[in-house]
Symmetry: C2
Subunit: 328 residues, 2 copies
C-alpha cells in the first residue's frame, strides 16, 4: 500500500490534527480542500490565513501544494499535501482580476456555481439554465490562462456542456456520480460525463450518501460496480475519487453551505425538512482511514493494478499537472 499515491478530490472537514492523521493513516498524499462556499474575497483571505496557521502549526502532518509536483514531495515526506478549491465563484466577486490573484494564493480549482445561479452560470437546483453568462465566458478564458481548473460539480447541465465547449483546458466534476447509477440532482448525465472525458477532465466519485443508490446503505460492491461501468464509458484515465467528506462539522456548517446569505426560508439542499441533518456515513467508508477499503473493492471488482493506481491518485495528479500550470 505504501507506494500507492492516493489523492482525495474533495473534502470539507472541520480540520484538525486528528483528521490530518486520519488522512495519513489512510495513505493519502494529497487532498483538495474546499475553502469557500459563499465567502466574499475578503472572507476568503481569512480562510487562506487559517490554512497558513495550520501549515505553521502542523508541519509534520501537512504541507501546502503550490504546484502539482509538490504532491510527489508530500508522498516522499510522509505528509499530506493540501490544495485549495472554491465550490463557488463568490470569492472573485465581480472582478476578473481576482482569478489570477487567488491562483497566486494557491487556488487550483473553482466551481462556476454552487447549486444556484451565479454571475457565471446556472446551478443544478435552478429551474432555468441559461448556460454561461458574458462574465462567465471571460472567467473561463482567464482560468484557462492562469491555470485554474473549472469544476462543474454543482452546476446545471447546459451550463456544464457550454463550459466544456468554451474551455480550452480540462473541465472536471470533482465530486459527484453518474445519474445512470443514481438519479440525484447533483449527479451527472452520460452526455456531461462524456464531455468531461473529451475535455481531458475527470470525474471524482463521491461517497456522500445523497449521491449514492441506497444512500447510506450503498454497498462497496455497488460502488465499485459504478466505477467499472463509468470507466467503460469515460475511459480509465478520466476517473478518480472525490469523497465529499465533511467530517465533524456541526449542522450549522451544512446550513451555511445550503443557505449562505441568500435565503430567509430554510433551504434543505439534497435533504428535506424531515431529513435536515448530515446523512449517516457509509458503514464501509467512515473517513479518510478507509481509503484502503476502496482499493480492495476495486481489486476485487477485477481492476488491474495500474488501473487501481490511476483511479486512486495518478489521474488526479496527471490532471493537476496538465491543468494548473499557467499558460505561457
Amino acid at each position: 500500500m505504501q507506494e500507492l499515491l492516493m489523492i482525495d478530490g474533495l473534502q470539507y472537514s472541520n480540520w484538525s490534527p486528528e483528521l490530518f492523521r486520519q488522512m495519513r493513516e489512510g495513505g493519502l498524499s494529497a487532498v483538495h480542500a474546499t475553502i469557500a462556499y459563499h465567502e466574499t474575497a475578503r472572507e476568503t483571505l481569512s480562510r487562506i490565513g487559517e490554512w497558513n496557521r495550520r501549515f505553521e502549526a502542523f508541519p509534520d502532518l501537512i504541507r501546502p501544494v503550490r504546484q502539482a509536483s509538490d504532491i510527489r514531495l508530500a508522498q516522499q515526506e510522509g505528509r499530506v499535501g493540501i490544495f485549495f478549491g472554491f465550490q463557488n465563484c463568490s470569492p472573485i466577486e465581480d472582478d476578473i482580476d481576482l482569478v489570477e490573484v487567488f491562483r497566486q494564493l494557491g487556488v487550483f480549482i473553482m466551481q462556476l456555481t454552487y447549486n444556484n445561479q451565479s454571475l457565471l452560470a446556472s446551478g443544478c437546483y435552478e429551474r432555468e439554465d441559461n448556460g454561461i453568462s458574458r462574465f462567465g465566458r471571460q472567467v473561463i478564458e482567464e482560468m484557462n490562462r492562469v491555470g485554474m481548473l473549472i469544476d462543474m460539480s454543482h452546476s446545471a447541465e447546459r451550463s456544464t456542456l457550454e463550459a466544456i465547449e468554451l474551455s480550452s483546458r480540462p473541465v472536471i466534476i470533482s465530486h459527484a456520480n453518474p445519474t445512470s447509477f443514481h438519479a440525484a440532482r447533483r449527479n451527472k448525465s452520460d452526455a456531461v460525463l462524456r464531455g468531461i472525458a473529451e475535455s481531458g477532465g475527470l470525474l471524482g466519485f463521491s461517497t456522500y450518501p445523497f449521491h449514492l443508490r441506497g444512500g447510506s446503505q450503498c454497498q462497496l460492491s455497488e460502488f465499485c460496480d459504478m466505477v467499472a461501468r463509468t470507466a467503460d464509458m469515460m475511459g480509465i484515465d478520466h476517473i478518480g475519487i472525490g469523497t465529499d467528506l465533511c467530517q465533524q462539522q456541526p449542522l450549522q456548517v451544512l446550513e451555511w453551505m445550503r443557505n449562505g446569505r441568500w435565503s430567509k426560508a430554510k433551504d434543505y439542499g439534497e435533504g428535506s425538512a424531515d431529513n435536515a441533518d448530515w446523512p449517516a456515513p457509509l458503514h464501509w467508508f467512515r473517513d479518510s482511514r478507509d481509503f484502503p477499503v476502496i482499493v480492495r473493492g476495486l481489486r476485487e471488482r477485477g481492476f488491474a493494478e495500474d488501473e487501481v493506481r490511476k483511479i486512486m491518485g495518478l489521474n488526479w495528479l496527471d490532471l493537476l499537472e496538465r491543468g494548473t500550470a499557467p499558460r505561457q
Copy 2:
C-alpha cells in the same frame, strides 16, 4: 553604466509604458512600487490585480520580483523588476493573518504608519507618540517571520526606535533624509538613523523637494554632500536611494495620500493651503532617466566606484536578500 545594478527604493507614479521605458533608460533594474496608502484588504487585491495586468501587457519592459534574486534576472533580461510595498498598514486591517497572505502575493515592505496613528504605531504628524501598540508588537514578530521588511519612513520617533528594538530583522527608512540636513517632519534624527544602521537596515535618500534643503532649488552637490555625511554616520552599507518619485499623478492622488478617508477638513501634509499642489521637481532630477546624474554627482563628490555601486543598488539588493526570505 550598463553593469551598474541600480534600484529605486520608492516610487508611486501613474504607471505607464512611457514611465517603464524611462526607468530602463535611467538604468534601473528594480523599483519598489507603492501599492497602498489607505486601501482596505479588498481594495489592495485590486491594486495587485492592476499590476498583474501590467505584467501581462508589458512583458518586454517589466517583470514581477517574487524573490530578491529576480532582480539579477531583471538586469540580465534588460527589464525592470517591480517589488511591492505598502506605505501604511491599512491593507492588513485588524487581521494578523493578512501579513503572510500579502507576503505570498509579493509584498516585501510595509510601513507601520502613514503620518497618522495606526493600529500598530504612531505617525510623524501626530502630537503624541505612544510607541508600538499591542497589535504592533505581534505584527512586527509576524513580519520578521514571513520576511516582510518594516519601513518607518512616515512614523514618529519613539515608534521608530521601539520598532528597531522589537524587530529581530532589519528596519528601514525607504525614503527620507536626515534632519541634520533639513529639519522637516518627515526627515530622521541621528538617533533613528544610527538605530536603522545597527538593525542592519538602510536609509533611502529622497529626492522629494519637501525633504531637501532649499526644496526644489536644492543642488546636486548639496544632495551628494548629504549622502557623504550620512555615509560617515551610518556606514557605507546602510544607505541607498528612495526617490519618492510620484510622476504624472493628478492633484487628487496627492489628496488621497494626505486625506484618505480620515479627514473632512483638507489636510495639506508637507504642503500648505498656499502650496497645496505637487512641488516642482529638482532641475537635475526630473524622473527615472536622471539616475545617471546621481551616479555622476557621487563620483564627483569623491566616492569610490564600489561605494557608488553600493549606494545606487547593491545595498538595496543585499537588504532584500537578507530581509525578505521567510524564516525557516
